[in-house]
Amino acid sequence: MSDMETKIEIKNLYKIFGNDPQSMLEKVRGGVTKDELNDQYNHVLGLSDINLKMPAKGLQVVMGLSGSGKSTLIRHINRLIEPTAGEVWIDGENVLAMNEKSLRHFRRNRASMVFQKFALLPHRTVMENTIYGLEINGMSESKAKKQAAHWIDRVGLTGFEENYPSQLSGGMQQRVGLARALATDADILLMDEAFSALDPLIRTDMQDILLDLQKELHKTIVFITHDLEEALRIGDQIAILRDGQVIQQGSPQQIVLKPKDDYIADFTKDINRGRVIQLKTIMKAPNDQPGPELPGEMLVEDAAQLVTESPSSQARVTNDAGEVVGVVGINDLIRAMARPDIDSRL
């Protein structure tokens, strides 16, 4: 996706928690690890030399286990956390160089956020929560309510406007969180484990809502998760974080097909690869055998279903223009879905 325009660029970002982060910075740059810093110097390494380019209008997932620095990273984008060193560039502007006023303007108009524990205002109704960002920005109540009503409708909460958050289920509360974030019309959406607190079924629902909205809104979304399934399902780009460092970044396919190290391979081994890998990744040179014509972006799992149902034993893969550019046999499909450790034993 190198042809894509970069919206958010993070450069050499460091965050060290503790009494004297600046003097620890040298040590970290000199190669002191997170554990050493913790044991010997009593400082916590939050982020270490992060460099990331996030595509405009894309959904960038940042994935990692608990404590890997995901929340710390996303909070640097709207500067809820001040870095120890580094830069965050958005639309050619360094967020870390903004003064208080322009930072407030930035937060009100250009980046909004959805939180893991919803962080709704408990004393306000669904409607009042949704207009919160607009109200802060000084919009008149009637105009704000009109705008908010649209988003309440989009997340499927029409009829609940006058309810308080405590009267709603978790999934519904997070819809309010989403509506509140969308209402400000900011083109960057920061989501810190926004769906992690929800039951699996509701989580999938919310992912669908998000993907649906994204199809038409084309926001730049930064989505934090610790769940690889979720990352692969929704991400255009995935960055994997461990101990405050980015250890791999790329498309879902790249992560699954070419895990950079054992740590990531371990993550990906239980993944349903058929739902990640696309036909164009595994296709071979075209032949003249028959078969259903399927687009190159189709997932292996879907293709396997279609090929099994068709009389032929292969699919013909087409590009965006509808031309046949390759073929995939039923065996290729099955092999692509197999787990790599099984693969190597064959």
Binding site: N78, A119, L121, I136, S166
Partner: protein, 295 residues
């Protein structure tokens, strides 16, 4: 080994001089500034007198109706409304209406003062660790020092009368208002505050739209405590010239009028219960949003 059994006291003469020094110092301060201070408090006195006259001039049925109406608005509880009305009627029937009006007016003024001083102080405390570390010990002193002790300088400065009485009551009743405001604001969920930050709220917006509304139940508990404590202080304050239900109690003590003491005491209790129920149920109603189904 004399020095072990004999405490190394300051000499009798020195001690006397020491006390005298303080007394003289304060007296000359009083002579110098007493009048200015009195003038400073004059508007307060005028307001108190005006309010007392207003309450006394209000026809009694109207007053009972107003209290009942406020009770209904605050609590939506018919028992509280009827109870308040009956108690007030009995108080009047037993000849204590005027004293009650005096007491009510001083409680109102005192509560307003405590809110006016306590709310900003509590907010200041919640926003600065330093302010908290300075104010907390002062509040400790205010709450533990026997009230008679601070009556002395107040009386020396302002003489006997309504204003010194009012000041004594405020000193006594102010700490819970400050403490609970501070506590309420500090208890506001960090994540909600972070959300406010993330949406670009200014400090003022955070304070008025998030912190104070969410601290309101605690702030209200503070108001309630303040009212209760000023009622408790009414008898002591009557020693320095505050009119109202305290004075007959004082008279009853010195003359051993049992019934008079009891009746006026009961009237204070009745007022306390009315104020308490109304303000508490209002405080509870402020938290209605917390209830909800599940969770």
């Amino acid at each position: 080994m004399d020095w072990l059994t004999e405490f190394p006291e300051l000499g009798r003469r020195d001690l006397r001089d020491f006390r005298k020094g303080i007394d003289e110092g304060f007296k000359s301060f009083t002579r110098e500034y007493g009048e200015n201070i009195e003038n400073f408090f004059d508007p307060l006195l005028q307001f108190l007198i005006w309010l007392e006259r207003l309450l006394l001039a209000t026809p009694w049925p109207l007053f009972i109706l107003i209290v009942a109406g406020l009770g209904w608005l605050a609590s939506r509880n018919i028992k509280i409304v009827i109870g308040s009305a009956i108690s007030l009627f009995l108080i009047g029937y037993l000849g204590m209406w005027e004293d009650t009006m005096s007491t009510v007016s001083i409680i109102i003024v005192c509560t307003l003062l405590c809110i006016g001083i306590g709310l900003p102080t509590g907010i200041l405390m919640s926003r600065s660790k330093r302010a908290q570390s300075i104010i907390t010990p002062i509040l400790d002193v205010m709450q533990t020092i026997p009230s008679f002790v601070y009556l002395i300088p107040v009386v020396m400065l302002l003489g006997i009368g309504k204003v010194p009485g009012l000041i004594a009551v405020v000193i006594y009743a102010l700490p819970p208002m400050i403490r609970l405001t501070n506590l309420g604001i500090r208890l506001v969920d960090r994540e909600v505050l972070e959300a406010a930050d993330a949406f670009g709220a200014s400090s003022w917006q955070k304070l008025t739209q998030v912190q104070i509304p969410l601290a309101l139940p605690n702030i209200f508990a503070g108001v309630n405590q303040t009212i209760m404590m000023s009622l408790a202080m009414v008898v002591i304050a009557s020693m320095i010239g505050v009119t109202g239900l305290g004075q007959p109690v004082l008279k009853a003590i010195s003359n051993q009028y049992l019934a008079m003491g009891l009746l006026n005491g009961m009237a204070i209790v009745a007022l306390a219960i009315i104020f308490d129920r109304i303000s508490q149920s209002y405080g509870k109603r402020l938290q209605n949003y917390r209830g909800g189904h599940d969770e």
